[in-house]
Symmetry: C2
Subunit: 327 residues, 2 copies
């Protein structure tokens, strides 16, 4: 490894924030040596407690994350926040006050914030988030909070790689529970009904509790549903109590560890394979010939994809110890 990188790693190990930021950028941008960095730091990670926070846009996740990050910071924990922001190049990613509110808390000691724009990112969103978690973990952050802006499939995957998932909803014209059905309900460890100062929160709590009641096995523990207000601070104490329990449990060891690692390997593998074959294709005429065939009705995307795989990749069968086995 280059000496510059080794020095950056050494400084990050000592929790130097500038080195941490540089290391993240280096890996995010897939600059030469990024994978060596990840391999080098891996053995010293796995200690941090990762909390995923998701929910529909406008649920007040940023304010809430700001609030409990501050409190956890005051309790002596070092915090890393990853704001997964699928910002459009169009809007510049800061239409509303989100990032401004975030900047507010970034001056707190113990809190390190990193925004992750997902557009134009090299490698998948999910893997990129995992990488950043690993680096923050290595740099000694006790707790890493991943906050997503929306609730899509990718966002669900991102938070499902956390140790604990907080789902934030709010009273908003009776439509808020709809946001929950987006595949996230079964991965949430706690349901937070935010903006409870607005009224209507009790209805949401009942609805969520009813859904949980119906669908949870009698042997399972029903996840807590709590009302909070980042504005009046109602319920924040209760939330902090539950989060502290999570952090405590994590320190006693996580059951999901093996499954998480399996997912991580597959996610890296997929990203790498796709990157490799994309490079090959773009350096070999970028499919122009094939596209013409499709446009003229002489072929179709399925046949072209099959043919490209056969041409550029061989899926081997290692058991038979033969090269070139394509199935």
């Amino acid at each position: 490894m280059e000496e510059k990188l080794a020095l950056m790693i050494e400084a990050a190990r000592k929790s130097n924030e500038r080195a941490l930021a540089k290391l993240i950028s280096h890996v995010e941008d897939r600059k030469p040596g990024w994978k060596d960095i990840m391999k080098a730091i891996y053995a010293e990670t796995g200690r941090t407690c990762v909390i995923g926070v998701t929910g529909s846009p406008g649920a007040g996740k940023s304010s809430l994350v700001g609030e409990f990050a501050k409190q956890l910071g005051d309790m002596g924990y070092t915090i890393g926040i990853i704001a997964v922001d699928p910002s459009s190049p169009f809007s510049g990613g800061a239409v509303l006050g989100d990032r401004i509110r975030m900047r507010d808390i970034s001056t707190y000691k113990n809190i390190f914030i990193r925004s992750m724009a997902t557009r134009g990112m090299l490698g998948g969103l999910c893997q990129a988030a995992r990488d950043v978690v690993r680096i923050m973990d290595f740099a000694g952050r006790d707790i890493v909070i991943i906050e997503t802006v929306g609730v899509g499939q990718d966002e669900i995957e991102v938070v499902s790689a956390s140790d604990y998932v907080v789902l934030v909803t709010y009273p908003g014209g009776g439509d808020s529970v709809q946001a929950i059905k987006a595949g996230v309900m079964e991965i949430a460890d706690i349901f937070v009904v935010n903006k409870c100062d607005r009224g209507g929160a009790d209805v949401i709590v009942s609805e969520i509790s009813a859904m949980l009641d119906l669908s949870t096995e009698t042997t399972e523990e029903i996840p807590p549903v709590i009302k909070v207000s980042a504005f009046t601070k109602e319920g924040i104490d209760k939330l902090m109590e539950i989060l502290s329990e999570f952090i405590q449990k994590k320190n006693e060891g996580s059951h999901y560890q093996k499954e998480h690692i399996r997912q991580e390997v597959m996610s890296i593998l997929e990203t790498e394979m796709v990157t490799l074959i994309k490079e090959k294709i773009s350096s070999n005429g970028n499919m122009e010939k094939e596209l013409k065939l499709i446009l003229s009705g002489k072929s179709d995307p399925y046949s072209v994809a099959d043919e490209l795989i056969k041409r550029f990749a061989v899926i081997k069968n290692p058991k038979q110890k033969r090269k070139g086995d394509f199935q």
Copy 2:
């Protein structure tokens, strides 16, 4: 191809709805011969106008889609609706009245509705949606409407494969514009502020217009921003007028065609590659040995992923006409 499949294709070509539904299920479930179906029908597709409808949960997309599907149906068009529903197995995918409202309009002639659950789906969401569009196209649907539940990265990819994208938002405590920044703004061809009967809609319209004004090149056409109410029917006429223009334009040929096909090939290719290598890995011990190495600190996910790629796949360089070139 099996005779049963050939008969199914033949019946779907004659717009038989049962055959259409069966064909979709066959392809969605990746049953034997699914790819032959896609290859067989491809040449007879490309005629339908695909309209993607997205926006945050609770924006009233389903009601709106129901409304304009009915009107387009009355105008003589045959409609296919794909409701992309990232339903959790937990909630059964029908927490709120969405699918009930949908069932309402499914009794209308000319309208064929298909719900697509994304959890546990074989192959990517985006490719699966494209496949269903192709099949509906083949079965003679003039217009296919894709409606997503949320606004995540996957959902944006799904609708970005449409000919036209409708972004639905609504007045909801000033937070609605936040939903827009999720990377979707630059792909929207029309902005609809729904539930304008509720008040506050004008503010949203101004905010969106201001954003568009700031970021659109002077040479570009600024997409329309309109207020509608699926409840009072305000603005629906204007919306129908714009949609009719879209459909007209599509019939005159789309500029995006080549780029869409390129995306489609890449999407099929990625899904296939990943499926192939996943099968190999799971039939070769499912990484148990490698996971143990990682857990004991002797390896890391990055090294394991590299090693698995080297063991199971060869990325070839066809120009050099050599086997086994791994880069």
